[in-house]
């Protein structure tokens, strides 16, 4: 479904992504793992069109999207919950969610989705009128994820969704991801919590300093303790 072909991207002189290929098949969960500064976020930005490519191509269903404007890409159903939450701090919780569904024309659909998101995160419903900037860190994270879900994405890009969430909610998040996937949403997830992620991922890529150094089915990687210790910073 989503194909990333040999992309390069840089911030000025700093080459953040140096030629990577990623394949996100329809209906699967693909994980992108790797240590700090590996270039994961940059890759997601590139997919969403926020980061111009120096080289390479990104295709959705064989159609190149890498030269499209970010809002067009979002319109195609590729939606991101970005790193650092990036919620609209001066808007209320409810308004933030509504922006998430900007491309949706039908009001009923928006209301329905909002209801289901309140189902996932009851805290957000309690705080629907609160100015988002005053939410606690974790609450903001829930809002960022909720906002992405409001778009009813075909492909959901999650950048460290569990960041700042309490252990109980982290568990919830992975369950939600699994459930969305069951409902047919294709998911590309970036996480530090490698073990949890590999448990739900169909396939995973590991990045280091801008390159893919390892890939494989989630289960296979999970079994390979050496890999986990060496590249994923996990140990049992």
């Amino acid at each position: 479904m989503l194909k990333i072909k040999n992309i390069h991207a840089a911030y000025g002189n700093i080459k953040a992504v140096k030629g990577i290929d990623i394949d996100v098949p329809s209906g699967k969960i693909v994980a992108l793992l790797g240590s700090n500064g590996a270039g994961k976020t940059t890759t997601l930005k590139a997919i969403s069109g926020l980061m111009p490519l120096e080289k390479g191509a990104i295709e959705l269903d064989e159609v190149p999207i890498h030269s499209m404007a970010p809002e067009k890409i979002a319109g195609l159903g590729i939606v991101q919950s970005p790193e650092g939450r990036q919620i609209f701090t001066s808007l209320t919780v409810e308004e933030n969610l509504k922006v998430g569904a900007f491309t949706e024309k039908s009001r009923e659909a928006v209301d329905m989705r909002m209801k289901s998101i309140f189902g996932y995160f009851p805290r957000l419903e309690e705080r629907r009128k609160q100015i988002a900037g005053t939410l606690s860190g974790g609450e903001q994270q829930m809002l960022a994820i909720g906002r992405a879900l409001m778009a009813n994405p075909k492909v959901l890009l999650l950048d460290e969704p569990s960041l700042g969430l309490a252990p109980l909610i982290v568990k919830d998040i992975f369950q939600i991801v699994k459930r969305l996937n069951d409902e047919g949403v294709t998911i590309l997830i970036v996480e530090q919590n490698a073990l949890q992620t590999l448990k739900i991922a169909d396939y995973a890529y590991v990045m280091e300093t801008g390159k893919i150094i390892l890939e494989g089915a989630g289960k296979d990687l999970l079994q390979d303790e050496k890999v986990i210790e060496a590249y994923l910073g996990g140990n049992r």
Binding site: I14, N36, G37, E83, E160, A166, L168
Partner: protein
């Protein structure tokens, strides 16, 4: 009565109708690593903000033992004075000055230590030079300690998140604190990095002789570093005790940790 560096008594604050912190009391001993945990929105960051006077609580008392051994009520002082008494903090969302170098960011942390006036600094008097040199040296020492020395002259904005978190930690040390309070230091770090962080926190405590108050959701880190933990929910204290006591606490499990069953990794 233990020898405490910070004593929070009956702290309360509400926003509109919401009681974010509700009659909370706890106490941190000298050179202790203390954990504050609780579900999202429990009020942890708010507690930090009250202690450092970013918020003014509705009621309560925060007693701090300063560098000179004096006992003061922090609530009677204003934000920028807090650090002078030996209490430094980090932020949940990293707050560094992105277009300055890392060492300059550290020097901002030493701001309260400068004794020369703006005029002396403008005229580069010997005293001002000496002072600048001394603090610069100290900043390099700290960066060395934390393994960041090679990045000293990098611009903060171009560094990955993990590095920035450490720089923020380093910055607190510039003020020769008695207590540093850190908000979610491990967020965004992977397990190896988190372990390194745990070591670093312990090292900071031992090397710089300061107590640490930490909010963190990574239970691995909390349980392995903290000597005592306070768990809160809805602004109220649920339980306080050693890591083991907290782990076993039914209420804490229910509200925060989740049941142990599927937590094979722990």
């Amino acid at each position: 009565m233990m020898n405490s560096v910070l004593k929070v008594e009956n702290l309360s604050i509400s926003f509109g109708g919401l009681k974010a912190v509700d009659d909370l009391s706890f106490e941190i001993g000298d050179k202790m690593i203390y954990g504050l945990i609780g579900p999202n929105g429990a009020g942890k960051t708010t507690v930090f903000n009250c202690i450092t006077k970013f918020y003014t609580p509705n009621s309560g008392k925060v007693t701090f033992k300063t560098n000179t051994g004096e006992q003061i009520n922090l609530l009677e002082h204003s934000v920028h004075q807090i650090i002078n008494y030996g209490l430094a903090r980090t932020f949940q969302n990293v707050e560094l000055i992105n277009d300055l170098s890392i060492i300059d960011n550290l020097l901002i942390g030493a701001h309260s230590q400068y004794k020369t006036s703006a005029l002396q600094q403008a005229f580069l008097t010997p005293r001002a030079r000496r002072e600048e040199k001394e603090h610069r040296g100290r900043a390099m020492d700290i960066l060395n300690q934390l393994g960041l020395a090679d990045k000293a002259n990098e611009i903060a904005g171009s560094q990955p998140y993990g590095v920035l978190k450490n720089v923020e930690l380093a910055r607190t040390l510039m003020s020769r604190p008695k207590l540093i309070i850190i908000d979610e230091p491990a967020a965004g770090l992977n397990e190896t990095e988190t372990e390194a962080l745990a070591e670093m926190i312990k090292k900071i405590r031992d090397y710089y002789h300061c107590a640490v108050l930490m909010v963190e959701h990574d239970m691995g880190l909390v349980m392995s570093t903290c000597e005592r933990i306070c768990a809160i929910n809805f602004g109220k204290k649920l339980a306080e005790g050693t890591p083991d006591e907290i782990k076993q606490n039914k209420e804490v499990q229910e509200a925060y940790l989740g049941k142990d069953d599927d937590d094979a990794e722990n």
